[in-house]
């Protein structure tokens, strides 16, 4: 039991593979908390959600343009867990997504919705911005243009 957990943490910390992985809510929290002054931009999307698919490249661009700063884009697909192999993995490959992509290892959607943010109705796209050092945790249940995304994550004021 201990080994897979350590393995998962390693994968989360250093994984650059395009393979979509399952992520437990505990590991999700841990990842954000361990980030210290890193600004995490966590985008919730789904393969079936057209506006989500449209804005995925904005997040990828944000990551590329801030590769040397403490900014980390993470994608979490809300496609149901059974669709990981059939839908999410092929999608990530064809769209050549470079940022990490996860699916929550939690079949009860209500649990992860409330866990991410109490005010989230469950609609996607949605984006969570977290910076542990500056105690920032902002949640947005909406779509973004690239400019909006940039101003919101780089210059939060």
């Amino acid at each position: 039991m201990k080994f897979p957990f350590a393995f998962l943490v390693c994968m989360i910390s250093f994984g650059a593979s395009a393979q979509v992985k399952l992520l437990s809510l505990e590991d999700f929290d841990q990842r954000l908390a361990n980030g210290k002054d890193t600004t995490f931009v966590v985008n919730f999307w789904a393969t079936w959600c057209a506006p989500c698919v449209e804005e995925l490249p904005y997040f990828e661009r944000l990551q590329k343009e801030n590769a040397s700063s403490a900014l980390k884009v993470i994608f979490i697909s809300v496609d149901s867990r059974s669709k990981l192999g059939k839908l999410v993995n092929p999608f990530v490959k064809t769209h050549k997504i470079e940022s990490e992509v996860f699916v929550f290892d939690e079949p009860d959607q209500q649990k992860f919705i409330d866990h991410v943010d109490k005010n989230w109705s469950g609609s996607v796209p949605a984006t969570l911005v977290v910076n542990t050092a500056s105690s920032r945790r902002s949640f947005y249940e909406r779509e973004f243009s690239y400019e909006e995304l940039k101003s919101l994550t780089i210059n939060p004021n």
Binding site: A46, C49, S80, R81, P107, D108, Q109, W120, G122, S123
Partner: protein
């Protein structure tokens, strides 16, 4: 004077809450009149012997709604006879989502042999009034002397994949409780869904 100001604020707060969130548990639902796939108009008042309703905001195109389609059919099969028929309403604008046109709704209802109304909300006013943000979303209503009161809002169950045998069947549980004269023990749930495809301004 103070009381008047206070009640004004309270009223304002309630109004703002209504416009922002739509109906919540305890709200009295104003009846509506929408066109069904058989071209007839349908209102809640038409269901004289109903004890309540399972109102489902759904559509033809959303993969989550599709995953739940057979469960919506099963809910009507089980509960229409017990006084809680399903009323399905398509939320989506047919220009924004061509797969949700009235003709496509008729096709789907025929193909799947819907035994319940599948209504078109052409101006999307009812979807707005209820505050349904995504499909599928359920509102369970109970008929009372005050009118049709919302007793439950949210998801059909917490297992979109139908892969977890210990899933919580929220809507079934709530309707069973209402049939047994109880208030639903879980009255508000959440799930992932597709955003309503609104008419472009």
């Amino acid at each position: 004077m103070k009381k008047v100001v206070m009640s004004c604020f309270l009223l304002l707060a309630i109004c703002m809450k209504l416009s922002a969130q739509g109906y919540t548990v305890g709200s009295v639902v104003e009846d509506f009149r929408l066109k069904n796939v058989d071209d007839k108009m349908v209102s809640l008042a038409d269901f004289k012997s109903a004890k309540g309703f399972i109102v489902v905001f759904t559509c033809n195109t959303c993969p989550v709604a599709k995953d739940y389609e057979s469960r919506i059919i099963a809910l009507n099969n089980e509960y229409a006879a017990k006084g809680y028929p399903v009323i399905a309403i398509n939320t989506n604008d047919p220009v924004a989502s061509p797969g949700d046109s009235f003709a496509k709704m008729q096709e789907r209802a025929k193909e799947k042999n819907f035994k319940f109304p599948y209504l078109v909300d052409s101006d999307q006013q009812l979807t707005k009034r209820f505050g349904a943000a995504h499909t599928p979303t359920v509102y369970i209503l109970a008929k009372t002397s005050k009118g049709n009161v919302v007793e439950y809002t949210g998801a059909i169950d917490n297992d979109q994949d139908e892969s977890n045998p210990s899933r919580s069947t929220f809507v079934k549980n709530a309707v069973n409780e209402l049939i047994n004269g109880k208030k639903p023990s879980v009255s508000k749930t959440k799930a992932v869904g597709c955003t309503v495809k609104w008419k472009k301004a």
